[in-house]
Structure formats: structure tokens, C-alpha cells
């Protein structure tokens, strides 16, 4: 037995607060992956990811797009016959991969998430235009044009804000988040 804790244990620790049952109770029935609306787009189905975690296949899990493709619809979670909270697992893998700075190349998810979080830390509220650069560069030209088209139309319909919204007690708000995580980690 080595001193370093196994990948399987690390993920279990990340899920300690989750209401679900531990991953080692998975019976590999495939209900999650049969249910998942995004499964056909994933490198591995959620069921396979659980098996891989239980096998300690850290590199392959982190390199997969599976958890970035989870849309948090919770359909797998309500159907799982073993009460495993698969959606929470996907969240945990996203966090883990961002912390470790290790994820599949060319994914929008990680960049987008970080941009989104920074935006809220700055203003307390979400402001769609700030998000644009983070994904426009990652998509192709066609998507860029489509996105701009969509955005222009939204603007014309009065559905896109021009100025970033801010909450009033922003200083308190920032200090509050500072008590949870050092600001430097986000800015």
C-alpha cells in the first residue's frame, strides 16, 4: 500500500457531502448511460467512467470529455437503482480537473466556467457579453458568425444588457467570498 491516496479515494472524498451512495456500490447496469441524453457524444458513458474510477484509471478519466458534456439534467440520478448521485460525480470531476489544470484539449467547458465564475466574483451578477471571447475563439468561424447573429438579434430585441450589472454591497460580497476561498485563486 502506498502512502499517496488513490484516485478512487480522491473522488470518494470529493463526494463526501453528496447524498448518494459510494461509487463502489455501482452494479454497472447502465441505467445512467441508457438515460443520458448526451451519452452518444461522450468519449465514455457515465457507467464506464464509474468503472474506470473504480479501476483507478485517472489519466483516461481526466482526458475524457464525459463530465464536461454532462448537462446536469439529473435524469440518471433519479433513476439509478443504487442511489448513486451521478450528477454530483460529474460536478466533482469538473472541479477536480480544473484544480489539477488537467483536461482534454479543445474543450470549452473549463474556460467558460472559469470566465463565468470570475465575472460573478467581480460584479455579483451574470453579464452575458463577457462570456463571448471565452468560447468564440474556441469555436470555428461559422459558429462565431452564428453567435454574433444571435447576439445582435438579442440586442435588438432588448434582451442583452450593455453594462455589466453590479450588486450594491459588492465589497461585503467580495470579502464574503474571500472567507471561502482566497481571492487570488480566482482573479
Amino acid at each position: 500500500m502506498s502512502d499517496t491516496i488513490s484516485f478512487r479515494q480522491e473522488i470518494a472524498n470529493l463526494l463526501y457531502a453528496s447524498e448518494g451512495e459510494p461509487l463502489n456500490t455501482c452494479i454497472q447496469c447502465g441505467t445512467c448511460s441508457g438515460t443520458c441524453p448526451v451519452a452518444p457524444y461522450m468519449d465514455y458513458t457515465p457507467r464506464q467512467i464509474i468503472a474506470m474510477i473504480n479501476q483507478g484509471m485517472k489519466e483516461q478519466v481526466l482526458e475524457s470529455n464525459t463530465f464536461w458534456y454532462c448537462a446536469s439534467c439529473y435524469h440518471c440520478t433519479v433513476r439509478c437503482p443504487q442511489d448513486i448521485n451521478i450528477t454530483d460525480l460529474m460536478y466533482a470531476l469538473k472541479r477536480y480537473s480544473i484544480w489539477k489544470g488537467q483536461h482534454k484539449e479543445g474543450l470549452i467547458g473549463p474556460t467558460f466556467s472559469e470566465a463565468f465564475v470570475k465575472m460573478i466574483v467581480r460584479g455579483g451578477r451574470s453579464f452575458e457579453p463577457v462570456l463571448a471571447p471565452s468560447y468564440i475563439f474556441s469555436f470555428g468561424m461559422r459558429e462565431l458568425l452564428l453567435e454574433v447573429q444571435g447576439a445582435t438579434e438579442l440586442l435588438l430585441k432588448g434582451r442583452l444588457p450593455l453594462l455589466p450589472p453590479r450588486i450594491k454591497r459588492l465589497d461585503n460580497f467580495k470579502r464574503m467570498l474571500g472567507r471561502i476561498i482566497p481571492m487570488g485563486g480566482l482573479e
Binding site: I27, G30, C32, S33, G34, P40, P81, D83
Partner: protein
């Protein structure tokens, strides 16, 4: 203490079960040294106290050391109390002068800290030693056994049990809630893995039970109340009004032919067919007499009709018939009340009840049964279209914490049987969707192989959902089964014409009530609990009450039959002894101390305490007393004592457990 008892203490290793955690050597040395004051003259530890060598060790010591009391520290008294009592008896010591202390279930198996477990074991033994001093020599109570047996439930398990006992020459009351015996087996078409015709093998047994001179068949009846105790139960049975005079009826069938009222049969036909308001559930029904379903009979609803009465050639129809309450005396009882099918509607995403061509397993049994509503033609809900592709879903409501966590044991084989029947009768493509294929009995795995050879598709994956939402070409008009093929990791959409849900087995909805009525208990799942899961599967913790068949847990026909026969054999053994020895744990009242306050009179749930008005004292009837001890605890005059659980015994045990009056000597670890 006038006369000091000579006590032997025996600490069992139980292999490593105890010795792996508790330092048994230290415990026995400690007992020998520190419990001398209490009268311990010898203490030993041994690998397996319950083995014949272990028992001989005790017997030898009783003789050689003149032991007057024996304390064994081993497993739970529910397992081996009798063993060690017998050992004492064999050596001439009254069996009730022994005490079994549980240091396995209560120490080594539940604690990991070896030191703490060892210390606790010492305290438990000290408690046992302190208690055993106050044990008294007792003789078991002997009561006669009534030779009759009550069997509740007329399915295959109950029928088997009833026949075994009746054929041995003893009377049986067979009580069945439905109008006919036969149970679920009567609904099936074929039985796995041999594909015997279910009715062909069941009907002869039903007829035999119906005609047997030793069997009193009470169908359309339910047990209302159970009084008494092993050997001497008094059971009240409600025989519901059939509205048909059984003495006049010949079972000719004219009445149900002429009855104008059709009713959907949700019981026997699983909603797939109809019956009349006066009916027998199926042609081979035993007994042959019909019943009138008063909720649906036009006469009972509107006051007119009486078609059955007009046509009955023997004037057997009796609209005024009333329920009868019968009291029967029996010595033993077998509960064989069976199971209920899991309600597949609860899994909304499988569409049962919403999508027409999703069937339950029981519906399919009726569909494939030659005597069923379609004459055995496997067709869609429209009654004519033969399916080209059929999907069979395993584990419906089983192995799923959202419904039932247990495996229903029969669904794999049942699904394979369905796959075979569909293939054989329609030539359709058949898909089985399974999590694991479980075929652990004689000839079962071979049947699975037969199905593989027949070309049935097996897809390993629990079905996620069944819908009629068409997305891809080829899906129009089909039911789409969405599932992950877990062996390839592909999400599949399998279009089929018919889905069969292999629904799991559940305890009867009133299982809890039944358990209470008979004084036994249900597991958390709702199945009735056997006395020991491995070594005593048909007895219960209540003497004289046995269980057989699916009431104890999901099982197939061979296992149900075996349990029915096993329960019968147990009872026959008891009946032949003519009397039974009961634990002499009884309350008794010291008449000199009784103040006649009558507090105890109302406390006894068995009405075992009589009050003598003339002498103003109460008295316990030992035949009725069950030994709970509530009256003992409540008597303000301390006049009631409880054999085996006297105040001295318990108070001393408390002292012992707290290691009072025990010298604190240094022990060698």
C-alpha cells in the same frame, strides 16, 4: 450464601470467530482467578465448545469436579442454548442450571478493539456467573399437541404441505382467500426449465387436496383471529358467503353461462379477460362451486335479475347466505400466503398502463396460456396483430433501491421461458435486456444455453426507458426501448412491437397484518422471517408457526414445494410426539404475599391470571402464561416471581456485568 455453588466456565474460540478478536485465554484465566469468590472452580477455553469434544469436556468436568452450575461463553443462546443444556443433562445436571453468554454476536463480531472486546467479554461472563448461581432446577412444561394443522394459503406450497400431512393420516384445514385453490401456479402456462404444462402438473394435486378425507377445504375464507399457543391454537376463520349452497351445487356451470353480467377479471386473468358476476375463476377450479361477486352482481346492486337462480337445476343459489365464523382447534399452523406481483405502473418510464403494448409478466402468462383469453395466441393488445419484435425487460422493480432492493430470483428464468415461447409460437425476434443472468438451479443454465442457441438476443443493460417518441427511421409505430449495451458502451434505441416487463415479486400487501395476527415478524422488506436463515428456514420464532413458499421470500416452484413438504415434515414429527416440551419460563404468585390488589389481572394479555374472590388472591394458570414477566415487574407486593428470569437472577446479573464484588487482580495479558 449458605451453600457455595461449584461453577465451571467454558470460553469458546469458535475457530477464529471469537478468538480472532477476544483474547480467550486471558478471559478464561481471569475467570478462574477473579471469580473464585463467586464459586468458579474451573475455567477453560476450547476451540469449538459446541463440538462433541467440547460438550464431552463439560460433561467430564461436571462429573470430576462436581460442578453444580455451568457457564458457557460462546454464541447467541438462540443458536446453542439447547446444545449446552443437553450436554448438562447428559452428565446428570439439570439443564436449566447452565447459562450461555454471547461473546460472539455481542462482542467479537461487533467490536474491533481487541482489548475492549476482551474486557467486555469478562464482564459478560461475570454477569452470567452471578446469574447462574440463582438458577433453579426446572422441568420443561409438557402440553399435549392437537393433531390437526391449519394451512393458510392454497397455492402450490400450501397444497403440498396439506397433502403431506393429510397423507400421513392427520387432519388439515386448508384456508384460501380466493374462491379456488391453485394460487399463482394455476395462472401459468408453462413452467421452467422443463416447459411442463403448469395446469397438467398442478390440477391433480388440487383435485387430491379437494377430495382428501383428511383435508377440510375452506376457500373464499380468511383467518380472523388466532388464540392459544403451540399445540393448542384456537383459530377463528371467516368463511365468506359464496351465495351458493355447496351441498346442493353440482358445479354444472349453467349459472355462469346464463349470468348476464360480465366483469373484467383482475385477479386470475390479470385484467386480460372477463368472467361473470357468478363465477369459478378457472375451469379446473377446486372446489367446483362458484361464488357470486356481490359487488358486481346485478341482483345485489339493483335488486333484480336472479338469472342464476332461475336456471339453477338444483336450487343451489342462496342470495341470503351470510358469512360464517368457524372456530377450529389446531396444534400447528403453516403460513403459505405467497406473494404479489410488483406493480409495474410505479416505474413510469416503462410506460405500463400508458403504452398499450407494454405487458406485465403475469399478463403474458395469461396471453400465452391455451386456456387464456386469446387461446394461447401471442398477440398485441388489439387482439390480432402478431408481434415481429419483442423486448423482454428483466429486473422490473427488483435490484433497485427506488423500489425493491432484493433480487426476485425467478425473473431471469421466467424471462428466458417467455423468450422461448415467443420465439416458438410467433417466430419473432426476441431481445432480453438483463443486468446479470441468474440461473442457479438444476437445469437452469442449460435452458439459458438453449435460448442462446435459439438466437435470442441478449443485451446487457438495465432498460432506461420505453417510449413511443419516434426519432429515427424505422421507429414509426413501434415502442422504443432505450438502453445502454454495457458490453460495448453504446446507447441503443431498440424498436419493438411488444414489451414484456418481468415484474418482481413483492410481499402481500397485508403481510405485516398477517405476521401480527400470528405473532411472528416481517423483515424490513416485508417477507416473513424464518427462525434461522440457513439452518431453520421453515420454522419461525413462534413455536408451532411455520412458513412455506414465497411468503418467506421470492422463490420458484420447486423451492416452494420443498418448503411446503419441509414444514409438513416438521409438524408431523411434532404431532407424533403427542406432546411438546415448553420452556418452563412462567410466572407464579406466592399466595401468602399476594395482597389481592388485582393490578396484575389487567396486565396479562393472555388472561392467564385468575382472581379467587373467596380468598382475595390471584393465581397464574401456567398453561396460559407465556412468560413475558410483565406481571412480575408490576406486582407492588413482590408476590409474583418469574421462573428463569427472577429478580435475584437479573439483579445479580447486573452486579456481575458491572464487576461489583470482584477483586481487581492484575491479569497477565
Amino acid at each position: 450464601m449458605e451453600k457455595k455453588e461449584r461453577i465451571g466456565v467454558y470460553v469458546c474460540h469458535c475457530g477464529t470467530n471469537i478468538a480472532g478478536v477476544v483474547n480467550v485465554g486471558e478471559v478464561s484465566t481471569w475467570a478462574a482467578e477473579n471469580l473464585k469468590e463467586q464459586g468458579v472452580v474451573i475455567a477453560r477455553d476450547y476451540k469449538f465448545m459446541c463440538s462433541s469434544l467440547g460438550q464431552e469436556l463439560i460433561q467430564k468436568d461436571i462429573k470430576e469436579h462436581g460442578l453444580t452450575r455451568v457457564v458457557v461463553a460462546a454464541c447467541s443462546p438462540h443458536l446453542h442454548e439447547q446444545t449446552f443444556r443437553n450436554a448438562c443433562k447428559g452428565a446428570g445436571l439439570n439443564p436449566y442450571l447452565s447459562e450461555l453468554v454471547s461473546i460472539r454476536e455481542q462482542s467479537s463480531w461487533v467490536h474491533t478493539d481487541k482489548v475492549a472486546a476482551t474486557e467486555k467479554s469478562k464482564a459478560l461472563i461475570a454477569g452470567g456467573v452471578a446469574r447462574v448461581i440463582h438458577h433453579e432446577p426446572l422441568e420443561p412444561l409438557r402440553v399435549p399437541i392437537h393433531p390437526a394443522t391449519l394451512v393458510v394459503g392454497g397455492g402450490i406450497a400450501g397444497i403440498q404441505a396439506a397433502l403431506e400431512i393429510a397423507n400421513a393420516g392427520y387432519p388439515v384445514y386448508l384456508v384460501e382467500r380466493e374462491p379456488s385453490i391453485g394460487g399463482h401456479m394455476a395462472q401459468f402456462d408453462k413452467t421452467f426449465p422443463t416447459l411442463d404444462c403448469s395446469a397438467c402438473i398442478l390440477t391433480p394435486k388440487m383435485v387430491e387436496a379437494g377430495n382428501h378425507p383428511n383435508i377440510t377445504l375452506l376457500t373464499y375464507s380468511e383467518v380472523e383471529k388466532v388464540d392459544g399457543y403451540v399445540g393448542n391454537f384456537v383459530v377463528t376463520i371467516r368463511k365468506r358467503a359464496r351465495s351458493v349452497n355447496e351441498e346442493l351445487c353440482t358445479g354444472c356451470g349453467i349459472c355462469w353461462e346464463k349470468c348476464p353480467k360480465k366483469v373484467v377479471d383482475n385477479i386470475f386473468e390479470a385484467g386480460m379477460g372477463t368472467r361473470k358476476a357468478i363465477y369459478v375463476p378457472f375451469p379446473q377450479a377446486v372446489p367446483k362451486y362458484p361464488v357470486i361477486d356481490r359487488e358486481n352482481c346485478t341482483y345485489y346492486i339493483k335488486g333484480t335479475c336472479k338469472a342464476c337462480e332461475k336456471f339453477c337445476p338444483t336450487n343451489a343459489i342462496d342470495f341470503a347466505q351470510e358469512d360464517q365464523l368457524l372456530n377450529v382447534e389446531v396444534g400447528n399452523i403453516i403460513l403459505a400466503t405467497g406473494y404479489e406481483l410488483f406493480d409495474a405502473r410505479r416505474i413510469t418510464q416503462y410506460g405500463y398502463g400508458r403504452l398499450a403494448n407494454v405487458f406485465t409478466s403475469l399478463e403474458f402468462e395469461r396471453l400465452s396460456n391455451a386456456a387464456g383469453p386469446t387461446g394461447g395466441n401471442i398477440v398485441l393488445r388489439d387482439g390480432k396483430t402478431v408481434p415481429k419484435v419483442v423486448g423482454i425487460v428483466h429486473c422490473v422493480g427488483s435490484r433497485d433501491k427506488n423500489y425493491n432492493e432484493y433480487c426476485s430470483a425467478i425473473c431471469c428464468m421466467q424471462s428466458l421461458k417467455f423468450a422461448h415461447l415467443v420465439h416458438e409460437r410467433t417466430g419473432a425476434e426476441v431481445y432480453n435486456f438483463y443486468i446479470d443472468i441468474r440461473t442457479p438451479a438444476k437445469g437452469y443454465e442449460e435452458f439459458y444455453h438453449r435460448l442462446l442457441e435459439e438466437g435470442t438476443h441478449f443485451i446487457r443493460g438495465k432498460v432506461a426507458e420505453i417510449s413511443d417518441a419516434v426519432r429515427l427511421p424505422g421507429e414509426e409505430g413501434k415502442l422504443i426501448i432505450q438502453v445502454e449495451d454495457t458490453l460495448t458502451g453504446n446507447q441503443l434505441r431498440v424498436p419493438v412491437d411488444m414489451v414484456i416487463l418481468s415484474a418482481g415479486l413483492e410481499p402481500r400487501r397485508d403481510a405485516k397484518e398477517v405476521a401480527n395476527k400470528f405473532g411472528i415478524s416481517c423483515s424490513a422488506d416485508g417477507w416473513l422471517i424464518e427462525r434461522h436463515p440457513k439452518l431453520d428456514p421453515v420454522a419461525t420464532v413462534t413455536e408451532g408457526i411455520y412458513i412455506a413458499g414465497c411468503v418467506q421470500g421470492p422463490k420458484d416452484i420447486p423451492a416452494s414445494v420443498a418448503q411446503g413438504a419441509a414444514a409438513a415434515a416438521r409438524i408431523l414429527g411434532k404431532i407424533q410426539q403427542k406432546e411438546i416440551a415448553l420452556e418452563p419460563v412462567r410466572a407464579s404468585i406466592n399466595q401468602d404475599q399476594c395482597s389481592g390488589c388485582r393490578i396484575c389481572n389487567n396486565l396479562c394479555p393472555f388472561n392467564a391470571i385468575l382472581f379467587h374472590e373467596d380468598r382475595m388472591v390471584s393465581e397464574v394458570n401456567p398453561a396460559l402464561c407465556q412468560g413475558c414477566g410483565t406481571c412480575v415487574a408490576a406486582c407492588p407486593a413482590g408476590a409474583i416471581s418469574g421462573t428463569g428470569f427472577s429478580n435475584e437472577q437479573i439483579l445479580s446479573q447486573i452486579e456481575g456485568l458491572l464487576l461489583l464484588n470482584i477483586p481487581k487482580k492484575e491479569t497477565v495479558a
